[in-house]
Subunit: 248 residues, 8 copies
C-alpha cells in the first residue's frame, strides 16, 4: 500500500509508524522501483516510465507516487490496451493514444524550443512509431510536424514536401523495410537526422534488422540511429538537440 | 596430359590408345571437371568458368579443352592477378580486366540484343562489381551503358542521368553500404531492375549483409536480387531478360 | 471522414468548406497515406496496397479514395481473414482469396502479354506463396500456369512437367526448406527465373533463411531472388520482365 | 589524364578538343566519380572522400580535380599507410594522421561553432576512432576536447572528468567491448550524445557487434548511434548538431 | 500409475508384481525421467526440476516420486500459471511464486552459508529474473538481499546502495537492454559477480542478445555470465561460490 | 471431390467423364499434390506426408488418394491436435500419437531389420522428438529401444545404460540445451550416431541453435546431424543405415 | 624429450629414472596430449590427429609416441604445407596429400568392407573436401569411388553417373554454394547419404552457412550432415555405416 | 617522453617545469591512458594491461609509469611476438610466455589462497587459452593444476583424472568445438566451474560461437561462462572466487 506524505506524517504522529519507517516510505516508498525525483533538475526532463515488462499495478503505483511528489507531467511508453484501461480508470486525467501506445498527462508549464522538429515517415504502417516520436517531442516542449507516406519507391512524393523538410531544425525519419528514406533525407538537408528503423516488413526484414543495418550504413553524413521501433528515443534525442537552438 | 582430338585419333590409328580410352578422352578428358559442351545448344550460352577455388593448372586445362572443342568465347570470373599471369602466358589471345578480375576471349560471332542494359553504380568503390556485370553482359551480346557514382546521399546526381536510366530495357544497380539506390531506381522506371549488393562498407555492413537485406526488402516493385558482389550473375540475368526483347 | 469529389464541391458551394480545405481534400484526402495517382502513367501499373500493418479502417479509406478517383483495378496483399470481412462488407464487388490472402477487384481493361509465365512450386505447403505470385501476375495482365509439388527429392516429378517449364517465357520458382528447386529449374531453361524462398520448414530453416541463402548462392545462372514469402514481388517482377516480349 | 580548366580552354582554342569534349571535361572530368561541387552550398560542407575501396590513382585524381575547382579544404578518411605516401608525394601540402588514417588539407576560412564538442573514449585501444571523430569535427569548425581512458570498470576515472563532460554542448562517446560508457555518460548530461561502437575486443565481441547492440539498447535517453568504428560519422553528426547553437 | 514403495512391496507379496517388476518400479518408476536420488550426496544439492517442456502430469509424477523417496526440498522452475494450479491442487504444501514462476517446497533442515549474496537488478522489468535468482539462493541456504531499479542511466541510485553492494560475498547482477550494470558493479567490488542478461528490451535487443554480448565482453574483471533470463543458474552459481566461505 | 478408381471408370462408362479427364484423375487426381506412387519401388519406402503447412482438407485428400491406390502404410508427421481430430474422424483406422504429433496407419506386411536401433534422449523435455524418431523407425521396420533422461549433467545415469547403448547397431541421440550427449555417446560406441538437436532450452539456446552447432562440431567421429527437432529424419536415416545390416 | 619404452626401461635399470617416473612416461609421456591407445580396441579405429591448432613440434611428438607404441596407421588432418615439410623430414615414410591437407602412414593390415562408398562432388572447387573424405574412408578400409563436377545447374551430368551412384552402399555428397546436390542425390537412392557443406562460394554463402542450412533442411529423407568442410568426418561416418554391411 | 618522479622534481627545482606542469605529470603523465593506481587498494589487485590494440610504445610507456609508481607486479595480456621483443628489450626483467601471449613481471610479495584451482582443457589445441588462465591465477596468488587433453570423445581420460578434479576448490574448463566438457565436469563436482569457450574448430564453429552457446546452455548447475578465448578472465574470476576460501 502506498501512502501520501501527509498520511505518513499523520501515522507517525499516531505512532502507527516509526520515524525510520516513515523516512523510508517518504524517500523510496516502492520496493520495486527507485524513482529519480531529481532527474528534472539534473537532466532537464522528468523520468519517463517504460511501460513494457511492468505490471499495471506497478505502473499505477509509480504514477501515484509521482503525483504525490507533485510531478504532473508524466509519459508512459508501450502501454497496451488492457493496461491503459486500468490506468485510466485510476487516473481519469491521463490520455491514452492507442496508435502509439503512449499514456500521458501533461500539466506542467514548459518553455517551447525555437526550432521545429519534422518527423518523416516512409509508409502508413510506420505511423505508430512516428507518432510515438511526435508525441514525445511535443511532450518535452517542441513544435512538431509530421510528413507521412513518402517512401523512396515514389520519390516525387518526398520532393513535394521538400519545403517542410528543409525548414526543420532537426529531423526524425521512420522507415521499415529497406530504410532508404533516412539516406535520401540526409542528403537533402544540412540538419541533424535521427533515423528510426521500424520492424515493418517480413521475411528477410528480420523484425527490423534490414532497416537498422541500412541506416547504420547510411552513405549520407549527419545521420545517427536509435533502436528499432524506438520512436520515443528518437523524439527525446531530437528534443535534446533542438534545445541547443534556444527557447522561444 | 591433355591431347587434341586429332592427336587422340592419330594415337588410335597407331594403336597407342584403345577405342575405349580414346572415347573417354574425347568425351571427358579432365578428371576434375565435367565440361558441359552442349550448354550453348541447351541454354544458349557457353558455360562460364568460376575461377575462385580452382588452381591455375585446372583453369588452363579447362580452357585448353574448350579451345580443342572449338569453343572460342570463354569467360572466366574471379581470376586473381597471379592466376591471370599464368593464363595469359599460356593463352596470349586472352584479355584480363584487372578491375573486375575477369579473364576472357571473345571470338565467336554473336547476335546483339535490341534493348540496352544500363548498369548503375552507387560509388567509385562499387566499380569492380559494376564492371563485372558490364563485361559479362557485353560478352553475352548486349549493348551496355555504365552510370557511375550516383549514390542517394546526393540524389540530384542520379536525376541528371534520368534520361539514360529511363531508356534502359533492363537495369543492374550495384550498391554497397545501405543499398538504397536499388529502391530509388526501381521507383523511377517500369523496367526490371537487378540489384547487386556489394561488400563495400565496414562495421555493421557485415561484408555486404546490410545492402543485401535492404535490397531484398525493397519497397519498390520490379526489383530482384543476386548474391553479394555477384556482378557476373547480374549481368547474366540482365542478358537473359534482355533476350526477350529480341535481337537487332 | 472521406468525401467523394462531388460532395466536396457541393460543400464548397454551400460554404461548408473553404477553397483551400477542398483543394487539400481533393488532392490528398487521407492524412495517413499519400496515394500515387500517377503511378499507372509513370510505371504502367496501379499502386498495390500492402495490407500488413494497416488497420482495416485505413485500407477501406484508401480503397474508397481510389474508387473515387476512378481506379477500378486494385490489389491488396496480406489481408488476414478478419480484415477481409470488413473490406468485403464495404465493397462487395471485391474478391478475397483466402489461400494467398489477396483481396482484389479487377475491372479495368488491360492488354495481355504474349509470353506465358510459369509458377513452379516445390510442395503443397508452398502453395499460398505460389498463388500470390500467380494472382499478381494475372492481375497485371499475364497468362500464368502453375506447376505444383515437384520438389527435388523426387526429381522425376519435375521432368514429367519439363515441356510446360521449357515453354515459359519467365519462371517463378517457390520453394522452402533447402530451396534447391530454383537451381535445378535454372539449369534446365534459358529463360529468366525469379526465385522465391518460402518460410516453409522448421528448425535450421530459420523462417526461410535456408532457402533464401540457397537461392542467392544458386550455381545456375539466370536466377535472381526476392524476399522470403514475397509471392507478390515475384509475380510483379515476372510481369515486368514479360512485358519486354510484347503484348498479344 | 586530368587537365586544368585553363589547359582545356587552351586546347579548344588550338582545336585539340571539340567544344563538346571540353564541356564534358570541365563538368565531369572523371569517369569513375561524380564530384558534388555544390555540396558546400547545399549542405554547408564540402564532400568528404571515403578512401577505402578506392585506388590511390582514383583518390589522387579526385583531389586534383577538387583543387582545380578551388576547393582547398579536403578530408579523406580510411587512407592506409601505403596510399598516404602516394598522396603526400603528389600533394605535399596535405597532412596524414597515422593513428586515425585521415589525410587532409584545411586552408579555407571557416567560422567556428560556439559550443564545445567533447569526445570521450573508453580505453587507449579506442583512440584511433576517437581521434577520427575529433579531427573531423575540428576540420568542420568546432572546438573539441578529448577525454581518454575512462571506461566503466573504474568509474571514478570518469567522475574526475565530470566538469569537462558536463560543459560540453555535444558529446561523442567511443567504446568497444560492452560499450557501457555511452549509457553512463548519457545519464550524467542533458546534452545529445553520439555513441560510436568500436571493434575493440575479441570473441563474443564479434567485431564490434556487442558494443553496437549495447548502445542501440541504451537505457539512457538522448543517445543515438553511428556505425561501428565510424568516428568520422560521429564527428560530422556532432558538428551538424553543434551548428544549431550558433557561431562564435 | 505411480505406486509408493509400500504399495509395491504389498503387491509383490500378493503376487501382483514379479520381483523384477518391483525392482524396476522401485529403482526407476518413471519411464520418462531418470531421477538422480544420489545428487544431494554427490553434489550437495537436490536435483532441481526444470519445469518448461514437461507436462503437468510428468511434473506431478516426478514430485510424487521424490516425496516417496523422502525428498522434501523440491524446487521447480519455469512453471506457468496453469501448471502451478494443477501442482498445488495435488500438493497443497507447495508454494508458487507467480513473479518468478518458481514452485517449491522447502522442509529439509539446512545449514546457512556465512556470506551474504546480493542480487542487483537494473530495472523493475528485470525483477522476475532477479527474484528467481533470490529464491533459488535462499532455497539452497543463503541469506540474500535484493537491490532493485539501480540501472546505469541514473548511476547515483546505484551509489546510494554502495554499502550494501560492497558488503556482499557474491553478487548477482540482472540487467536487460545494454546490460551495462554488470560492468559498473564489477568495477566497484572485489568479489565475484555473476551477470544475468535478461530479455527485457525490444528491437536490437534481440531477446536478450545485446545484454548477453555486453556482459561477455565486460571490461571489468571478476565477472562471469549465465544464460539469458537464467535467474536460477545465477542463484545456484552464487550459492556454489558462497559455500567456499563456510557455514554459519 | 476425389473419386475412387472404380467410380471413375464407372463414370467413363456412363459418359460422365471423357477418357482424358479420367486418365488425369487416375494419374494425378489432386491439383495441390503430386503423389509419388513409385517411391516404394524406387527407394524402398512409401512417401511420408509432411503435415505442417498443409490444411486438414489437403491431408485428408492425400490419404484418401493413397488408400485408393492400395497404400496402407501411411505416416503423417507434425499433425496438430485439431487436424488429428478431423483426420481420425475420416479414417478411424488411423492412430494418433499426441506426444510426437505423428498420425499413422501401418497395415502392410514388412520385413524387420536385424540390428537394433537405440534412441537416447537427454531429458524428459526432449521426449516428443525422441518418440518421433522411435515411431518412424518402427514404422519402417526396425526394432527400437528408448533410453530416456540420461543427460550429461549426471553422467552416471548414462553409464547405467551402457550395455543397451553398446548393443545398438545404430544410435539416435536427441538433446537440447548444449547437446553434449551426442559427443559423449559417440565416444563410447563404434557404431553410427545420428544426432538430433532439439529446441528445448531458452535464451542463448536460440530455438535449438546451441545444440545444433554443438553437434555439428562434435569432437567424436562417427556422428552426423539432422535438422533441429527432426526426429522423423533421424528415425528415417537410422533405418536406412540399419538396412545395410540385413533383414531378420 | 620423448623416450622409447626400451630406453625408459634401460634408464630404470641404470637408476636414471624412478619406477614412478618411468610409469608416467610409459603411460602418458606427453604433457600436452593424452593419447588414447585403446581407441582401436574400443571403437575399432586408431585415433586420428587433428592437425589444426597444434604446433609441428606437438604433432611430431605425438606421432613419435604412437610409432613407439607400434601404431603404424596414422592419419593427420589439416596439416598445412609448412607443417607437412617438418613432419616428412622427421618421418620420411609418411605421405602428404597437398590437395586435402592430409598427412598419413598406412602400414597396418586391415580388412576391407564389402560395400562401396561413393563420394559425389558438386564442382571442381569442392575437390579438396571430397578428397579428404575419400582418403579417410580408404585409410579406414573401404573401396571408394569419386564422382566429380556434377552440380545441379547441369543436372544431366549427374544422370550420366547414375549407375555408379545407385551401386553405392553409402554416399558422401560434397557441395558448396546452395548445396542442392545432397537433396537431389538423396531422392535418387535408397542408401544413406552423408552431406558435407563446403565453404566454396562468396557473399551470402557466409563461409558455408548457405550449404549447411540447405543440407540440414533437405526435403529428401535419408540425409544427415556433418560440419562445413568436414571431409574427414564424412569419410569416417561413411566408414562406420559401411561396416554394418560386413567385411569382404 | 616520460619522466621519473625524481627527474620531474629536479626540473621543478631548475625551473624547467612549472608546479602545475609537474603536478599533471606526476598524477597523469600519459595522455593516452588513465592508470588506476588505487586499484589494488580498491579491488585487491593491480590493474592488468590489455595488450591488444595498444602500440608497443604505449605499452612501454604504461609499464614505465607503473614501475615509477613502485608497482612491480604487472601482467600484460595478448602481447604478440613482435611487441614482446620490444618490451623485453626495454624491461629485461619481464618474462614472455609465447604460448599464452602473456608478458609479466611478478616481484611483489603476496599471500597465497588456501584452495587449489584446477584448469581442465579439452584438447592440445586449447592449451594457449588454458595456459593464459593458469598464469593469470598463479600471478594473482593461487596454486593451479592443469589437466590437459581430456575431451569428451574419450571420456575415460577424464575419469582417470577425477581425483584431481574433485579436489579442486574452483575449476576452469577450456574447450572449443562443442564445448561439452564444461557440462560433464559441472555434473561431477559441487564446486564452481568457470567455462571458457575457445575458438578452436572450423566451419559451423563460427570462431567459438558453438562452444560459447553450448556452455551458456549447460544443463549442469554451477557453471558460468566468460568470453571466447578469455583465459585471463577465467583465471581472474577463479581467483576472485578462490579468495572466499581464505589465505594459507
Amino acid at each position: 500500500m502506498i501512502l501520501k506524505t501527509l498520511e505518513i506524517l499523520q501515522k507517525v504522529k499516531n505512532n502507527e509508524l516509526t520515524i525510520e519507517q516513515a523516512q523510508k516510505l517518504i524517500e523510496q516508498p516502492l520496493d520495486y522501483a527507485t524513482i529519480d525525483y531529481d532527474r528534472k533538475k539534473r537532466t532537464g526532463n522528468h523520468e519517463v516510465i517504460y511501460g513494457a515488462g511492468k505490471t499495471k499495478e506497478q505502473i499505477i503505483g509509480i504514477v501515484k507516487n509521482m503525483l504525490d511528489h507533485d510531478i504532473h507531467s508524466i509519459l508512459i511508453t508501450r502501454v497496451d490496451q488492457e493496461k491503459s484501461e486500468a490506468i485510466l480508470k485510476e487516473f481519469p486525467q491521463m490520455i491514452y493514444d492507442s496508435l502509439s501506445h503512449i499514456c500521458y498527462i501533461d500539466e506542467d508549464q514548459k518553455e517551447i524550443n525555437k526550432g521545429k522538429i519534422v518527423v518523416v515517415c516512409a509508409g502508413t504502417s510506420d505511423l505508430p512509431v512516428a507518432r510515438e516520436a511526435m508525441l514525445t517531442a511535443q511532450f518535452l516542449g517542441n513544435e512538431v510536424e509530421l510528413v507521412s507516406d513518402v517512401g523512396v519507391a515514389g520519390i516525387h512524393r518526398l520532393f513535394h514536401r521538400l519545403d517542410t523538410i528543409q525548414r526543420a531544425n532537426v529531423l526524425v525519419v521512420c522507415a521499415g523495410m529497406e530504410g532508404a528514406l533516412a539516406s535520401v533525407v540526409g542528403g537533402l538537408v544540412d540538419k541533424p537526422v535521427i533515423a528510426v528503423p521500424t520492424s515493418i516488413g517480413y521475411g528477410a526484414n528480420f523484425d527490423g534488422l534490414s532497416a537498422l543495418l541500412a541506416m547504420l550504413n547510411s552513405c549520407a553524413s549527419g545521420v545517427s540511429v536509435v533502436n528499432i521501433d524506438n520512436g520515443f528515443g528518437a523524439g527525446f534525442m531530437a528534443h535534446t538537440i533542438n534545445c541547443l537552438g534556444g527557447k522561444k
